[in-house]
Structures are given as C-alpha cells and as structure tokens.
Point group: C2
Chain length 314, copies 2
Amino acid sequence: MRIYFTFEPRPDLCESLLAEFPQVHFVFERRLSHEELTQADVLVTYGEDVTEEALQYAPNLKWIFVASAGIEKLPAQAIMERSIIVSNVRGIHKTPMAESVLAHILALKRAIPWIYEQQQKSEWSKKAKQSELYGSTALILGPGAIGSEIGRLLQAFGVKTIGCNRSGQTAPYMDSMTNFTQLTDVLPQADIVIAVLPKTAETTHLLTEVHFRAMKNSAIFMNFGRGNLVEEHVLLHAMKAQEIGYAVLDVFEQEPLTADNPLWSLPNVIISPHISSHSSRYVERSLAIFKPNLAKWLRGEGDLENLLDLSRGY
Amino acid sequence: MRIYFTFEPRPDLCESLLAEFPQVHFVFERRLSHEELTQADVLVTYGEDVTEEALQYAPNLKWIFVASAGIEKLPAQAIMERSIIVSNVRGIHKTPMAESVLAHILALKRAIPWIYEQQQKSEWSKKAKQSELYGSTALILGPGAIGSEIGRLLQAFGVKTIGCNRSGQTAPYMDSMTNFTQLTDVLPQADIVIAVLPKTAETTHLLTEVHFRAMKNSAIFMNFGRGNLVEEHVLLHAMKAQEIGYAVLDVFEQEPLTADNPLWSLPNVIISPHISSHSSRYVERSLAIFKPNLAKWLRGEGDLENLLDLSRGY
C-alpha cells in the first residue's frame, strides 16, 4: 500500500502520519512524477497536477485525496471511467475565508485604507468617512460551508443575511433565501453581495450588466468563489461607471492578473491575489481530515467524507 | 423650559425633537455662547466646551446631557457644588468601536496592509503572511459596554476572552476574569491585548515596561480607551525593541499627534487618529437616548439613564 503526496507537509506532520499508519508506505515529493505514480494506490494532491496523461501512469490508483476545494482542473471523464474515487477537504477553507471576507468588509466600513494612507503622510485628521456594518443586508451567492460561515459571522455583527443558490433551499445562518432566477429582484436590497460559488456551467457568467445595475450605488461586491462568475469587461464597466461602491476580488477570469490589467488601478477595486483561503494551519487541517478517512479506507469502509460526484462538478 | 444644544443635529432630527416636545424651547447653535447659557435649563453638548467659567453664566442649569463618553474635561467640582446632574450616552460607541477593533485585528491577521501594498505595485504575489483569529486568546482591559461588545464579537470568531478590571468581577462575554494586580501573570497568555479603559487616576500609567515584556512577541496591543494608560516613551521602546508584534493606537498621551512623532513611521505601529468611535449614525443614536430621558425629566422623574458620578470620574 503506497500513498503518494505531491506536496511535502511539515516534518512533524509527516512523522505523525508514519507513526499512525505503520502499514502504509508514504512517499512525499514536491511534484508529481510518473515513476512514483506507477506504484501509487492513493494520491494526495492540491489537485492542479493531476492530468489525463498522468492517470495513464497510475494503474493501481484507487483514491485521489484533493487537499483543496477547487476540483475543476481534474480530468473528470478519465477519473470516472477508471472508477477512481475522489474526496476533498470541503469546509477546510471556511475559517480563513470567512475571516478574510469580514476583514475586507470591516476595512471598507471603518475606513482602514484611509487610516493607512494618513499614517504614511504622518497626517492627523479626523475626516474619515466611516460607516457601520451593523444593520446592513448581505446577499450570499452560494451559502455552502464557506458562505454559511460568512453568514454566521455577519449575523453576529447585526447583518441581515439572504442566501442565494440554484434551488432556493434553506441554508444555515441565512435569514431568508432566494434562487438564481430571482437574483435581479433581490439585489436592490443588498448592501454587500458576496459570491462564494464553485465553477460550474451554471455559474459561468451568471452575473451580467443587469445585475450590477440592479445593485445599490453604495454596494460592495465581493467575488471570493471563482473568476468565471462574471466577465472581466462587465466588471470593469460597472466599476468605471461607479455603478456600485466597491468591488473586492479574490478571483479572476485569468489568473495571475497581469501587471497591465486596468483592475489594479481602479480606486474602487480591491485586488486580493487569490489568497483569501490561505492559512498557516492549512496542511495540518487537511491531514486532520485525511487521517480518519485513510483509517476507514484501510478497514475497507467505503463511506469516506467529502466524496465528490465529478459528473456534477462539486 | 429652554434646552440649549451646542451642536446642530441634522434638520430631520431637529424637527422630530420640536414635534415630540412642543412644550420645550430648543436652541441649536454650533458653539457655546454665554448669552444663551443665561437662559438654559438643560445643556446638550459633546462635553468639551463646558468650563467652570461657562457655568457661572448658567444660573438655571439643572442637567447637562453629554453626547459623548469622555467626561474628563468637565469641571467636576463646580458641577457637583451646583448639584447639576450629568448624564451621557454610555454605550453609544460600542457598535462603531467594536467594529473598528475587529477591523484592525482582522486586517493584521489576514494581511490586508500587505494586500493593499501589492495592489499599489500591480504585483500578483501569493506570499502573504496570513494567520487566523480563530483559536486566539484576547485580554480585554475594561470590559464595560464597549469591551463586552468586543468580547461578544471575538467569541463569535472562536476567540477565548479574558476580562480585566479593578475588581476582577465578572463581565458579559468574558470566558474568564482577572484584575489589575494580576495583569502580569495573565499577559503571557494573550495573543491580543485590547484596552478600552476610561481616564482615571487608577488607569494613568497602568501599563509599564514590565507589562510589555510580559506579552508574547507576536502580541497585538490595542489602545482604544485613553492615552493616559501608558507613557509614550514606554510604548516607543517596546515597539522599537519589537517586544510585541503590533500596536494599534487610537488614543495618545498628547493629541493630536504631531507630524514629527516617531510613532507614525514605526512599521509595527498602526495609528488611528482617535476616530474609532465615529459613525454616521452618532447624533441619531444620541438623540434616541436623550429623548426618553427628556420625557422622564419633564415628568419630574429622577432616574435618568447613564447618570454620572463625577466624584468617581465615570
């Protein structure tokens, strides 16, 4: 039984794996090599290195554990044909991502960018334009594990939360729910619109000009899901025309954003280079999900946590 | 019955006062004038304009309503001798202040200053040093209305809260309590030390070199109470010697901070020019506290809200 990691956890985390699973042969590399694949029964990866070609070198592969949430780069068809099971670390991002979302919202409400600028000029001034998060309304596109955690924190700040998903079915920490087709009707109520949707056919270009025009002039739009949600030219137009107050973007149609992209210099746009989910505790948490599932799998039990249905894309 | 405001609320707020209290003669000015004082029964003020001299021009004055929290500039002795009652808007600051405190903490934990800097350079990099607020321990010096609100929000983020006051008596949203004399023993546990203490003889220079040395090297120290808490040279030394991770300061021994103050340019110090309590909803909320108390007072009832004991200083 060989388990092949295409990244290298901290030494103490590796040691604990070796100690807890003496019957397993672990291989830790910092990349995916075809030689190692030929012997691997389980692949532990961040998901970006698994190609259709790579799978051909892995005749024994039965389980891919993806230590991230995004699985859109996996060769879904080839994996399904081989009946390889795939599980991920769904929910692992919820704490750092929700903290990043709240950090950006509170920063804008409490004039943190202005405070930093004044300090650079050594200038004491009280003319900050500050408002409050309390009493706002937030629309959360995609109230899954991450969106609901954002909703929980927003509610603690006295924010009314409206969840929006495909079905309109209830989700935790949402005061009310709506669905994709009714989005335009609900957008005028929202002070903050937070998208944490996965990349699927349905979410691609889900937001259009119409939606930005329907938002409040003062609205903060945040995309912390995937860049496919809105075409860049639509976003650029909305921000240049000041149709809304701010856009805070963690994801983009094309990543990395090139240095000449006009988004960088718009005064009402905040660029976060797809780092909102990062955390110094990330690998530790991934392994805390992986280990009990590995134990189950070694016992021959099939009901692993976070098993993915690649035909649906999430 | 004349009520003299030394500031001017928004027209709609003035109108609602006139409509609700037709029996009262309201005067709204943007400053304190001796002429108007001679006739005033009630003075509504932000508190900084009331001097001992001014009181001599106000023979009828029975009640001073201070639309702020800080009352240290009031001529306490003269007010007590005249038996003028004083009430304030205690608690009005809790929402904007708690939001500012959380904004600064989350900004540092989620690398918001770094994100803004990268954007200025149009530079896509994922090398942010981000950590999480979740699982931290916060020590709150002065868990009153504001401190408890900060505690409530921190607990929602999974932070353990330790309150610290003179007596060590329990306070809301504190997981445990300590008192001023045991501070040095508790400081090593805290990832964040948040001071929201009023200015009194006891809080003056309460924090000394010993306390900064007792804090974690990574600790964030926040003073959002009053500048008397710690001598500036003590703070400067602690920050230059990097005894702690960050200081976020909203208050100072001398305000405004002069342009040549070395605090401005220390990389581990964030300067907020005493604006953390500011909010566009401030006057509205002050009047929401004032009105029911005015109604009580007109009925001759004495148990006004937030009556102050000037002999204790808060």
